[in-house]
């Protein structure tokens, strides 16, 4: 069996185990609370059922019908089943994307109460904001980092170091709050809230969305690009000290080609993987940034589900989604690293 295939298999197996373990933990925590939730769900349904009963029935018949219906619902959800059975069932359902139904009552304005539909309604806005930001800050970070590496020790290099330390000490969403204070409150350039989206159609709609997106986008890029640039700079400078770079320089290879050809080729695996990991790590902060700007995405949904509706199935759904994103991203980063850097093999770290 080729080593690369073994590497792929092992990484994939690892990712799968992690996914199952995490979903299992979430299901475990979830089910410990389901007794309280069960009462709530069932009494709501029973109440609706009582309203629709035939008014001609005698009180005894009514009570009997309600009792039967209640038992039917309990059986339906399996609330009488042993806890372990319920945990395994939740794990299985979640892993097969059966996320249940929202208990919010109004489904956050989405027509369907299925958690997966609600998430699919909010997810595109998050993807729009966050992937645009990620593309900008990663490219900007790599470009600035390469520049700083070429002039290591210069004023630019030192300024970048200070900038990256400062921005990585700031909560991203706090920078968002400052942005609102400065650019929305003081200068009035942008709307203070991104929601609701513009009512227009066509070109005016996209312009309106862009206008609302400018501040959250700028915030994410501002906070994350410094760290990316500094990371790139460090990887490149450490490669620049290698013997073969010195040899290339001694041969008279132009500096541009040394940087963009030789060095970048060696430094790209860690640059790519660390970009992916940094991206994954910043998802939490980005979701809270959405909340600050009232950007109607996953963060907004999460805050409403947590604070207003206490909607456990939706919270579970969002948590599951971020977990999947993390695990898949981590797995991809691993595979890419192995692909870009053929020296990495299974167990390679054992030899150090």
């Amino acid at each position: 069996m080729p080593a690369s295939f073994k590497y792929f298999l092992l990484r994939s197996l690892n990712a799968l185990i992690v996914l199952i373990v995490v979903v299992f933990i979430i299901s475990l925590v979830f089910n410990t609370l389901s007794d309280e939730m069960a009462d709530e769900i069932i009494s709501e349904e029973v109440h609706a059922y009582t309203m629709g009963l035939d008014p001609e029935l005698t009180p005894e018949e009514r009570a009997e019908a309600v009792r039967e219906y209640r038992q039917e619902r309990i059986d339906h959800y399996g609330f009488d089943d042993p806890i372990w059975e319920r945990i395994f069932r939740t794990t299985y359902n979640t892993l097969t994307f059966d996320l249940g139904h929202s208990t919010s009552g109004y489904n956050y304005g989405v027509g369907d109460s299925a958690v997966s539909s609600i998430i699919m309604h909010f997810l595109p806005r998050t993807i729009l904001l966050f992937t645009t930001a990620a593309i900008i800050y990663i490219l900007l970070g790599i470009a600035v980092g390469l520049k700083a590496a070429q002039v290591a020790g210069s004023k630019l290099d030192k300024a970048l170091s200070l900038f990256s330390i400062t921005t990585s000490s700031m909560p991203m969403w706090w920078v968002g709050m400052l942005a609102i204070l400065i650019f929305a409150y003081q200068l009035g350039w942008f709307p203070t809230t991104a929601f609701p989206f513009p009512d227009e159609t066509g070109w005016a709609y996209y312009r309106g969305v862009l206008h609302r997106m400018a501040m959250p986008l700028g915030t994410i890029v501002f906070v994350l690009f410094g760290g990316r640039a500094w990371g790139t700079r460090n990887m490149v400078t450490s490669v620049l000290q290698d013997d073969y770079i010195m040899a290339a320089r001694a041969k008279g290879v132009p500096e541009r080609r040394v940087i963009y050809g030789h060095t970048l080729k060696t430094a790209s695996p860690p640059i790519v993987t660390s970009a992916i990991l940094a991206f994954l790590l910043s998802i939490g902060g980005a979701m809270i940034t959405e909340i600050i700007f009232n950007w109607p995405g996953m963060g907004y949904l999460l805050r409403n589900a947590l604070l207003q509706t206490r909607d456990v199935p939706t919270i579970m759904g969002i948590v599951f989604l971020t977990t999947i994103l993390w695990v898949v991203g981590y797995w991809l980063a691993d595979l890419l690293y192995g692909y870009l850097d053929p020296r990495v093999e299974v167990g390679a770290e054992k030899q150090v």
């Binding site: 400062t166 990585s168 709050m177 929305a184 409150y185 003081q186 948590v319």
Partner: protein
């Protein structure tokens, strides 16, 4: 063993002396010391603030949304200071009337945010039979320099309550310029002067409190300009019915002129002194950052070194386990667990620690494998030292400085994570953290309303601590291993 301790000491001294050459590291260390002093002082200078943050009564006497005291120096205009008066400037006793007068000199562009009056007095009747259903009549008036007086309370009856079998009773009347009655009074006062050519604004569109101290011209409602000069706030009490003797109690009565600036960092919507909250924020930041990073580093050291020392299948197993742990995402686990187990700060600390050590353990293991091959480790083994002893006495001290540097780099992440969870409503309601302050600022729309001081200072706290620990940790890393700098 003593020679080993000497070695270790020497190493620490050499690191310390090299650290002195790291400018950024020294800056970071000084900030940490400053924050540490604030954190240690919090229980003394701001005692009870931590538990009493949500207690409205505690903050009643403070002004609402006051800017920092030094705002006058950096921003245009002057702000009225907060002024608590325990004794009136004049006390006039007449036959059937007593009056307290409080002078107020308005020389500010941003006038008072509120006036709070607490009128407490006594009244006596000739016999016990009369000691019920007795009223005094109260009038509260603001006399303005331009002669246009505003009567907030106009001859309202306040009943006297008598203790059983006593002929002397007491009465209390509290008043606030922010109350809805007072706001209505101010609105109709402004309407009298309003320029008929300008459209009359609705009451919801104006800030009533500035009308009281505004020039009585056509713009009083739409663009009030401060009227400077001497104001008198008079509280007048008249007796009714059988009341013979009466008066206002000087000790219990008081007037608070609610300012527009207060303390080092101002106050929030709930009148809380943000400076005191900030001090506790500093304390909690150091506590959670410190506890999580110290315990994570300790676990990582033990785990990594054990794995490195024993090697073989133990190492293989521990590394596979660690790889699975590394794959677990922190953010969703924190949300769901805090939501369900409760939002205690200690649950947060425990969870973060449980997931905090895994990455570091991997690095420590790989360096531990090198250390294990050192001669003195082999010597210790040959002399019959047990595995645990070799790990704790010989291997861990070698890597400790590096682990401390990594621990320092972890602190900001912990503080930022806690703050973010607070915004999601998963902060501990029993503690004051910078994250909680920011989440409350967000909840009260502080950004949209331009209340910059409420937003800026807690965030500066987080940034300052983060910066200090990163700068110190990075400097420490450079000193320990100049070539290793990668981050």
């Amino acid at each position: 063993m003593s020679f080993r301790l000497e070695d270790f000491k020497e190493r620490v001294f050499s690191i310390a002396s090299e650290f002195k050459g790291e400018r950024m590291g020294l800056v970071g260390l000084s900030i940490i010391i400053f924050i540490l002093i604030v954190a240690l002082a919090a229980p003394f200078l701001a005692s009870g603030v931590d538990g009493g943050w949500a207690d409205r009564a505690r903050w009643e006497d403070n002004p609402r949304l006051a800017e920092p005291s030094w705002a006058d120096y950096i921003l245009p205009g002057s702000r009225a200071p907060h002024d608590i008066r325990d004794t009136p400037d004049e006390y006039i006793e007449e036959a059937r009337r007593v009056t307290q007068v409080y002078n107020y000199e308005n020389e500010y562009d941003y006038t008072l945010s509120d006036i709070q009056v607490r009128a407490h007095g006594f009244a006596s009747v000739p016999s016990i039979a009369d000691a019920e259903d007795q009223d005094v009549v109260l009038t509260v008036t603001l006399e303005r320099p331009d002669g246009n007086d505003i009567t907030f309370i106009s001859g309202e009856r306040e009943s006297v309550s008598f203790p059983e079998n006593e002929t002397t009773g007491t009465f209390t009347r509290n008043f606030r310029m922010r109350s809805s009655d007072a706001r209505d009074t101010l609105y109709s006062f402004g309407q009298d002067f309003h320029d008929p050519d300008i459209e009359m604004p609705e009451q919801g569109q104006i800030t009533e409190r500035s009308i009281a101290f505004a020039k009585a011209d056509g713009n009083i409602l739409v663009d009030p300009e401060p009227l400077k000069g001497t104001y008198n706030l008079t509280i007048e009490v008249r007796p009714t019915g059988e009341i013979e003797e009466f008066g206002l109690d000087e000790d219990e009565s008081r007037v608070i002129f609610g300012g527009r600036k207060y303390g080092l960092m101002g106050t929030d919507y709930y009148r809380r002194d943000l400076t005191l909250g900030w001090m506790w924020g500093a304390r909690w930041a150091l506590i959670i950052g410190g506890v999580v990073s110290i315990s994570s580093v300790a676990i990582a050291l033990l785990y990594g070194m054990t794995s490195a020392y024993y090697g073989g299948w133990v190492d293989e197993f521990m590394q596979r386990l660690n790889e699975i742990l590394i794959g677990i995402p922190m953010f969703p686990i924190l949300i769901i667990t805090l939501y369900i187990l409760g939002t205690s700060i200690w649950i947060f600390v425990a969870l973060y620690t449980i997931l905090g050590w895994r990455g570091l353990a991997k690095i420590i293991r790989s360096r531990g494998i090198q250390i294990r091959q050192d001669t003195y480790v082999e010597a210790a083994q040959a002399l019959g030292s047990s595995g645990g002893r070799v790990i704790t006495r010989h291997m861990i001290p070698q890597i400790l400085p590096y682990a401390i540097a990594e621990g320092a780099l972890m602190v900001p992440m912990v503080i930022i994570a806690e703050a973010g969870l607070a915004v999601l409503g998963l902060g501990d309601p029993g503690t004051v953290t910078w994250g909680r302050m920011l989440s409350e600022a967000h909840g009260a729309n502080a950004t949209v309303n331009g209340q910059w001081w409420w937003v800026i200072f807690p965030g500066i706290g987080i940034t300052l601590v983060g910066f200090a620990f990163i700068a110190t940790g990075m400097a420490l890393e450079r000193v320990i291993n100049p070539k290793m700098r990668q981050r």
